[in-house]
C-alpha cells in the first residue's frame, strides 16, 4: 500500500514538474522560434528582454525533472535516455547555445547577429527534439529485461517528425501570445497578426497526431474509442481554449490569449496522460514497475516537498518583479 501511495505522489510531482517545464520554457523557446520572423531589431530586443529575466528559472524544472526521475522512476531515466541518445544530445546542445546567447547577446555589440542566430537555432532544435521525444513516447520503446534494445534512430520516424513540428508550432503560439502580453505598439500588433496563423498550424498538427495516434498504438485506440470515456472532456476543453484564443485575439485582449494557450497545452497534456495511464514507459512498463525502492522515494520526498514551495515562491516573486510591459531597446 505504501509503495502505491509513494509512487503515485511521485508521479504527481514529476507530472507537475513536466507541465511546469512545458508551459514556462515553452514560451521562452517560442520567442526564440519566432525570432527570424520578428519585424525588426527593436522587436527582437523587446522579445528577448521579456524572457531574459526568467528563462533560466524555467529551465530549473528540466533539471529537477531529470534528477527526480532517476530517484523515483529510474527505469524511465535508464530506458528513455539511451533510446533517445542522439536526440537528447541535440536538445542539450540547443539549450546550451540558446542559454549562452541570452547572456552574451546583451554584452556583445559587433557580433550580436551571431548570438541572434544561436538563440533562434538553439530554440528551434531544442523544441523540435522535445516534440520528437513526445512522439517517440507515444510510439513506445523496445525494451527487454528493463533495458532498451532498439536502434539508435528508432526515435526518428515520420510520426515523430510531425510531433516535433507540431510542438514547434505550439511553443511559437505560446511565444506569440506571451509577446502580446508583454509588448505594445507595432510589436504587439505583429504578435496579434501571427497568433491566428500559428493557432491554425497547431490545430492542424494536433488533428494529424490525433488521427494518426490510434493507428500507431492499439492501446490508445481501445482507450479512446472502445467506449465513451470521461477523458473526452480533455480534447473538448482544449478546443474550447482554441476558440478562446481566436476570439480574444479578435477582440485585442492582452492577457487572455496567453492564458487560453496555456489551457490548450494543459488539456492536451492531460489528454496524453489519459492515453497512457498507468503506463509510464509505453508500451508495457507501468508506474509501479518503473519505481525505485520505497525508502529511496521517501528519502528524497522529504527534501523535495520542502524545496518545491520555495522554488514556486521564488518563481512567483520573479514574475512579479518583472511584471508589466517591456519597453525600449536598452537592456542596461
Amino acid at each position: 500500500m505504501e509503495l502505491i501511495n509513494l509512487s503515485a505522489i511521485w508521479a504527481l510531482i514529476i507530472g507537475f514538474g513536466v507541465m511546469m517545464y512545458i508551459l514556462m520554457d515553452g514560451f521562452d523557446l517560442g520567442v526564440g522560434i519566432l525570432y527570424p520572423f520578428a519585424p525588426d531589431e527593436h522587436a527582437r530586443d523587446v522579445m528577448m528582454n521579456s524572457v531574459a529575466p526568467i528563462w533560466d528559472g524555467n529551465e530549473t524544472w528540466l533539471v529537477l525533472g531529470g534528477a527526480g526521475l532517476l530517484a523515483a522512476f529510474p527505469l524511465v531515466y535508464t530506458i528513455l535516455l539511451p533510446a533517445l541518445y542522439l536526440g537528447v544530445f541535440l536538445m542539450l546542445a540547443g539549450l546550451i547555445f540558446r542559454g549562452i546567447a541570452f547572456e552574451f547577446r546583451f554584452k556583445s555589440r559587433r557580433n550580436r547577429h551571431w548570438w541572434n542566430r544561436a538563440f533562434c537555432w538553439g530554440s528551434m532544435v531544442a523544441t523540435f527534439c522535445q516534440g520528437v521525444v513526445v512522439g517517440a513516447y507515444i510510439e513506445g520503446f523496445e525494451v527487454a529485461n528493463n533495458v532498451y534494445v532498439g536502434g539508435p534512430f528508432d526515435w526518428l520516424t515520420p510520426f515523430t517528425v510531425i510531433t516535433g513540428l507540431a510542438l514547434m508550432a505550439g511553443y511559437a503560439l505560446l511565444g506569440a501570445t506571451w509577446t502580446i502580453l508583454k509588448s505594445e505598439g507595432h510589436v504587439q500588433e505583429w504578435a496579434y497578426r501571427i497568433t491566428p496563423k500559428l493557432l491554425l498550424l497547431v490545430l492542424v498538427g494536433f488533428a494529424i497526431i490525433s488521427i494518426w495516434t490510434p493507428f500507431v498504438d492499439d492501446f490508445v485506440r481501445e482507450r479512446w474509442f472502445d467506449h465513451l470515456t470521461l477523458f473526452w472532456v480533455f480534447p473538448f476543453l482544449a478546443l474550447v481554449c482554441a476558440g478562446l484564443i481566436w476570439r480574444s485575439v479578435a477582440k485585442r485582449r492582452e492577457g487572455q490569449p496567453f492564458v487560453a494557450t496555456m489551457g490548450l497545452f494543459l488539456f492536451t497534456y492531460l489528454g496524453l496522460v489519459a492515453s497512457k495511464w498507468p503506463y509510464l514507459i509505453p508500451p508495457d512498463i507501468t508506474l509501479w514497475e518503473a519505481a525505485s525502492a520505497p525508502e529511496s522515494q521517501l528519502f528524497l520526498l522529504l527534501g523535495v516537498l520542502f524545496v518545491i514551495p520555495v522554488v514556486l515562491g521564488y518563481t512567483a516573486w520573479s514574475y512579479w518583479v518583472f511584471r508589466g510591459k517591456v519597453r525600449g531597446a536598452g537592456y542596461h
Binding site: 531515466y77 535516455l81 541518445y85 542522439l86 542539450l92 549562452i100 547572456e103 552574451f104 559587433r110 522554488v311
Partner: protein, 469 residues
C-alpha cells in the same frame, strides 16, 4: 579500428566532468573568500573590503553560471552512457544526486540573488548573511557529490538484490570509509584554488599598479592562508593515500607503478609503466621512500599490481603520471607559499616583480592538481565503477555503439569549445575591467537577476573601452 563504446564513454565522461569540475572547485573556494570579505567589511567598515567583495562576486557569478551550464550535461550523462549503472544504483544514486540539485536550487532561489544583486539594497548584515549561506550551500552541494563518489569507491550500507542495490543503511552508505578523507582533501583543494587565483589576480593588479592598497590587502591575506593550507593539504593527502592503501590497494600500486608486492619499495621519480609487459621502463627512483611514505616504515610492504589479474589493473601509466602531476603542483604551491613568507620582510612581497609574475602563473597550478587528483582516483579504480561490485563494462548502456558515443563526444567538444572559450574570454574581460570606482547599480527593472548579469563588462575589446577605469 573497432570503436569501443566503454572506452569512448569513459573518455566522454572524463571530458565533460573535467570541464565541469573546474568550476565548482573554484566557486566553492571563492564563495568562502567572498563571505570573509563581507565579514571584514561588516566588522571594520573599511571600503577596500567592500570593493574587493564587489569585484570578486562578479567573477564568482560568471564562473557559477558556466558551472550551471556544464552541470545540465552531467545530469544526463548517467542515463545516456551508463544506463545499467544508473539502473542498478538508482536507489542510492537517485536521491543523492537529486539532493544536490535541490540544494543548488534552494541556494540559488534563496541567497544567490541577494548576494549578487543586493549590494546597497539590503542592510549589510543581511548581505553578509546571504554571502555566508551561499558559501555554506556550496559545501552542502559538494557533500552530496563527494559522498556519492566515495560510495562508488568504497561501497557500504547496501545489498545487491537481483542486480539492483538496495540501501540498508543511509548513514553507512553516505558516510563511507573514504568519505571524510575525500571531502577534506577536496575542501582544502577548493580553498587552495580560490587562494591561488585571488593571489594571481591581485599580483597582476600590483604589477600594473592598479588599486594597490586593496590588492595588497588581498594578496597578504591569501598568502597567509596558503602558507597554512598548502602544507596541511600535503598531510591530508598523505592520510587520504593511506586510506586508499587500505581499501583500494591496486590503485596505490598503480600510483607508484609498483608491480610486485614487496618491502623497501623505491619512490619512482620517473618511469614508463608498461602494462603489457607488466614492468617499468627507464626507472629512476629514491630507494625505500615509497615504503616509508605509504607504511611509515623503510622496510614496509607495499602491495603490487600483480596481486590482481591484468584485466583488473587500471591504466597504470595514466594513474602514475596524473599522480605525479598532482604532487608536483602541490610541492610547487608549498614552495611558493614559503617564498612568500620570506619576502614579507621589508614588504618585498608586494614589489618583487619575479615573485608577482610567478604568482600570476601559479593561478593554473591548483586546477592541474585537482584534475590530476581526480584522474588518479577515477582511473585508478578501473575496471571497477562500483569498487569490487560493478565493472565499467557491466555499467555501460547496452544499446550504445561506438560511433554514437564518438559522434556525441565530438559534439560536446565543439559545444564546450564555443561556450567555454567565450566564457573564459569574458572572464578575462571582467578581470581586466577590475574594480570600478563606482559599481553600476542595477536599479532598472529590466536587468535580469541571473548570475552572468552580475558582471557588466562587454564581450568585445573595443566596445569595452567605455568602461575603462
Amino acid at each position: 579500428m573497432e570503436l569501443d563504446p566503454v572506452l569512448l564513454s569513459r573518455i566522454q565522461f572524463a571530458f565533460v566532468v573535467s570541464f565541469h569540475a573546474i568550476f565548482p572547485v573554484f566557486t566553492i573556494g571563492l564563495a568562502s573568500y567572498v563571505a570573509v570579505l563581507h565579514g571584514l567589511f561588516y566588522k571594520t567598515g573599511n571600503p577596500a573590503w567592500d570593493r574587493l567583495a564587489a569585484f570578486w562576486v562578479k567573477v564568482f557569478a560568471v564562473v557559477f553560471g558556466m558551472g550551471v551550464v556544464s552541470g545540465i550535461v552531467m545530469a544526463f550523462q548517467f542515463g545516456t552512457n551508463w544506463s545499467n549503472f544508473s539502473q542498478a544504483t538508482s536507489n542510492f544514486l537517485g536521491p543523492m544526486l537529486s539532493y544536490e540539485v535541490v540544494t543548488a536550487f534552494f541556494l540559488e532561489a534563496g541567497f544567490l540573488g541577494v548576494l549578487l544583486f543586493g549590494r546597497g539594497k539590503v542592510p549589510e548584515g543581511v548581505h553578509l548573511f546571504a554571502a555566508i549561506m551561499v558559501a555554506v550551500g556550496t559545501f552542502i552541494s559538494a557533500f552530496w557529490i563527494l559522498s556519492t563518489n566515495s560510495w562508488m569507491q568504497t561501497p557500504a550500507g547496501v545489498e545487491l538484490v537481483d542486480g539492483r542495490f538496495h540501501v540498508t543503511s543511509w548513514a553507512e552508505a553516505m558516510f563511507t570509509a573514504s568519505f571524510p578523507y575525500r571531502f577534506t582533501h577536496m575542501a582544502l583543494a577548493s580553498f587552495l584554488t580560490g587562494g591561488f587565483v585571488v593571489a594571481g589576480v591581485s599580483a597582476w593588479y600590483l604589477l600594473i599598479g592598479r588599486d594597490v592598497e586593496a590588492n595588497r590587502k588581498a594578496l597578504s591575506m591569501c598568502m597567509w592562508l596558503l602558507l597554512v593550507l598548502a602544507p596541511v593539504q600535503a598531510v591530508v593527502g598523505d592520510a587520504h593515500g593511506l586510506n586508499t592503501l587500505e581499501h583500494q590497494p591496486t590503485k596505490v600500486a598503480a600510483m607508484e607503478a609498483n608491480w610486485e608486492t614487496q618491502s623497501g619499495v623505491p619512490l619512482l621519480l620517473f618511469a614508463w609503466p608498461d602494462k603489457e609487459a607488466q614492468e617499468n621502463h627507464f626507472e629512476i627512483g629514491i630507494p625505500r621512500l615509497a615504503s616509508l611514505i605509504l607504511t611509515h616504515d623503510l622496510d614496509g610492504e607495499v602491495p603490487g599490481l600483480k596481486a590482481v589479474p591484468k584485466e583488473e589493473q587500471p591504466p597504470v601509466w595514466f594513474v602514475f603520471w596524473s599522480f605525479r602531476a598532482m604532487v608536483a603542483m602541490g610541492m610547487l604551491m608549498i614552495a611558493v607559499a614559503f617564498v612568500g613568507l620570506w619576502l614579507r620582510r621589508g614588504g618585498r612581497l608586494y614589489r618583487s616583480r619575479p615573485f608577482l609574475q610567478t604568482l600570476r602563473l601559479m593561478s593554473v597550478a591548483p586546477f592541474i592538481a585537482v584534475l590530476g587528483g581526480w584522474f588518479v582516483t577515477e582511473a585508478g579504480r578501473a575496471p571497477w565503477l562500483v569498487y569490487g561490485m560493478m565493472t565499467q563494462t557491466e555499467a555501460v548502456t547496452p544499446s550504445l555503439s561506438g560511433w554514437m558515443v564518438l559522434a556525441t563526444l565530438i559534439g560536446y567538444v565543439l559545444v564546450y569549445a564555443v561556450v567555454f572559450l567565450t566564457g573564459g574570454y569574458y572572464l578575462t574581460r571582467v578581470v581586466r575591467q577590475g574594480m570600478l570606482a563606482e559599481e553600476p547599480r542595477d536599479d532598472e527593472v529590466e536587468t535580469a537577476k541571473r548570475p552572468l548579469s552580475a558582471a557588466h563588462a562587454t564581450l568585445e575589446a573595443d566596445a569595452g573601452r567605455q568602461f575603462g577605469s
